[in-house]
Symmetry: C2
């Protein structure tokens, strides 16, 4: 990697700090084999060989507290998921052109989490990107439109179509001519009346699309606005915007890849916190606790014409092994009251981080829902001016002390704290201790 990439948050920048010989050799080998498009995290990249619960281990046996993982959301190598995969992979791994019960059990279980909505169908994909790509294809057929409305620092994936509405990919990846960005609904940055402002921003985007002869197909939002900086408050603020896009003939798509599967604590899905019924809900990362599986939920009328005109087959999506993993994940979430843990430990985590504000002037606004917390690093609490350089120092100091987080937001100045949902209060105490220390030593 010969290029200095400043657009990627918390990316390793070659030559910035000195590395050990063994690390350099691995990085060189990686650059030679994987080429120039791949990025590593942290000033000193990490090499892991084993995972267990909330812990990752490097080759020297050093343990790192994984506070940045919403893929293995039940913890690394969760025994129930490992067992489900191990059993199914030795029994059968076929596709959706044959009948198989596991995919139906998964669908029943998943759709039972949205019983109060009109969502009745599950479709499976191989990644969150494919899920959002499929949602867009369905939305175009359903609405006859092509326009997409997103927030200013959104990320929805990397297929050709989806990359055109994922501004966080950086200026090297152009947004589509049919795409409009609106301000993130950040009460703490733009002042109160989040619901009204977000709705009127979306209405302005709809009007602008129409003025350019483009019919809106969908408004798609991460319902916790995680790449926009984690924006949970006030629950309910999505209603007006969802109504506006529907009135304009478009669909409201809830991207639950980040907030879904119980992370926000009070509800299984982020959209449920807002009391809205999306037309399509897209799912991803934590769905199989690491096993590749993603998908979407939708209503019959939304997918009816697409089903007739386009049909759908995806070789790997819906394979029996991935379905078995996802079914096990849902079982554990229910059995082990994972949502309750996310709510309780999340509240404890948020309180503890807020408590650090007394001692650290650089800690600006702190907010969260369940086990997803965002904390701004600022030069001045009054102006809320971003301190990207200090954010980088904090993230890397924590990594040096064995705790993993990353950063996000337009200015790369927001600590992104996102542990597995089995995080304990003891884990929080360790985490906060290391964060406290990193904030204290983060002056240059």
């Amino acid at each position: 990697m010969s290029v200095v990439d400043v657009s990627s948050v918390n990316a390793f920048i070659p030559g910035e700090v000195e590395l050990e010989e063994s690390q350099l050799r691995l990085i060189e080998q990686r650059d030679r084999l994987l080429g120039p498009a791949y990025r590593l995290m942290y000033q000193k990249p990490l090499h892991f060989v084993r995972g267990d619960g909330v812990w990752l281990y490097d080759p020297d046996g050093r343990a790192y507290l994984d506070t940045y993982n919403n893929v293995v959301s039940l913890g690394h190598c969760h025994p129930d998921v490992v067992e489900a995969i191990t059993r199914q992979v030795a029994t059968l791994c076929t596709n959706t052109r044959y009948l198989h019960e596991t995919i139906l059990e998964l669908a029943e279980s998943l759709l039972s989490t949205v019983e109060s909505s009109d969502l009745t169908h599950m479709m499976l994909t191989g990644s969150g990107s494919e899920a959002n790509d499929l949602a867009y294809r369905i939305a175009k057929v359903r609405t006859g439109g092509t326009g997409v409305i997103i927030t200013e620092t959104a990320y929805h994936g990397i297929t050709d179509a989806v990359s055109k509405f994922s501004p966080t990919l950086g200026e090297g990846v152009p947004l589509g001519e049919h795409v409009r960005c609106v301000r993130a609904p950040a009460a703490y940055r733009y002042g109160p009346n989040t619901a009204e402002r977000f709705q009127s921003d979306v209405e302005a985007a709809i009007a602008d699309l129409k003025r350019h002869g483009i019919q809106p197909a969908m408004l798609i939002v991460d319902t916790l606005f995680t790449s926009d900086g984690i924006l949970p408050e006030e629950p309910g603020f999505l209603k007006g915007a969802a109504g506006a896009i529907r009135k304009a003939g478009g669909l409201f798509v809830a991207d639950e890849v980040q907030p879904g599967f119980g992370r926000t604590g009070e509800t299984m899905w982020g959209f449920q916190r807002h009391g809205v019924d999306p037309d399509i809900v897209t799912l991803g990362k934590p769905m199989g606790n690491g096993q590749p599986i993603a998908g979407l939920l939708t209503r019959h009328d939304v997918v009816e014409e697409f089903g007739r005109s386009s049909r759908y087959f995806n070789t790997f999506a819906g394979n029996a092994v991935s379905c078995a993993a996802a079914a096990a994940v849902l079982k554990v979430i229910k059995r082990d009251r994972i949502m309750g843990n996310s709510r309780d430990v999340g509240a404890y985590l948020l309180g503890k981080i807020e408590g650090l504000r007394e001692r650290h002037e650089c800690l600006g606004n702190v907010r969260g829902a369940g086990l997803f917390v965002g904390a701004d690093i600022v030069t001045d609490r009054e102006t809320q001016a971003s301190d990207r350089a200090r954010t980088t120092r904090v993230v890397n100091a924590m990594r040096e002390n064995g705790v993993l987080i990353s950063a996000c937001g337009e200015d790369h100045n927001i600590l992104k704290i996102r542990p597995p949902l089995i995080f304990s209060k003891e884990n929080v105490d360790l985490f906060v201790n290391v964060l406290d220390n990193a904030l204290g030593t983060s002056n240059v």
Copy 2:
């Protein structure tokens, strides 16, 4: 599924034949849960609960010879792959933002199969669709163009971008304005001089794109033209067309999702049979013997600007479990001389099917490479007129007698025979016996 879908080859059409109560119940449950876009295969859909080698088992314990599987290309539940997945899933499953040795071992092993080319980098995706989508994104950045040239009955995948150059998805999915189709290079249909004709067809498509102000980005072909009807002859015919697209500033992309990983017997990749060096090679289905993993191989200069401007991260692609499965697949292919088996048993299979032509007038042209055979069902050998109805009868009669194949081609009249690569001569004898019988009883 309330709709009769005639565009999908060998699809189950509800109401066409009588089904057992238990089957009907499963199908109803499936329609209710998965919605109207999913399709089943065969007049009487199949329900499987177990797989072992070349065999699939239904709930009653009846065994079906799987002659239609290029995903579990080493056979169902191959012990080495099961072991690799079982071990890795209990150890660690992380992503490519951390250093991990398994992905590097996989890359070394995979790139060693193309040592004589300039292909030096491996990039991973979660599906063949994502691989072709990524290839297109890279091609656009590399060439500055958007135009895509494909064959008339091509299939490359289902993302929004890729569906626009996958005509087999049917007339309900429009091709892109930037897409041009050329005739499939079918010597047996269009006469000799395949190489010259294919090159001049591609040159005409390039001229037409340019006449419309569209700069060509890529010519992409399945190097065995499997959805065009399986077109292996004469090896070498791709050279002129690959040269033509390069001369026009576009890339030549070899889609190896179907022919790759040793299926054609003589070479690991379909493009190697043709003596061409593609700019990008895309990989899919058999890569992890069922575990979701796909990707591409390319040269440094092709991906250099994309790497700088766009970077690349895909959460599931490159996870340690999928990499371990793919590394095991490559090890088994080499250790167990899978390519040799594909070549020898493939030749035996082709000879046996050709032998049936004496007894069955409806069997038209038969051709293949390794363990991929296409056989036309015709009303008349002289005119080669397609017999779609009889093809459907043959495929379903074989299914009734416990052997699985499907059909392909523009007219849905080509038997598509594609067993796992561990197929034995004994398996061939059983297969040919059942095919013989089905051809004999396929008069209405």
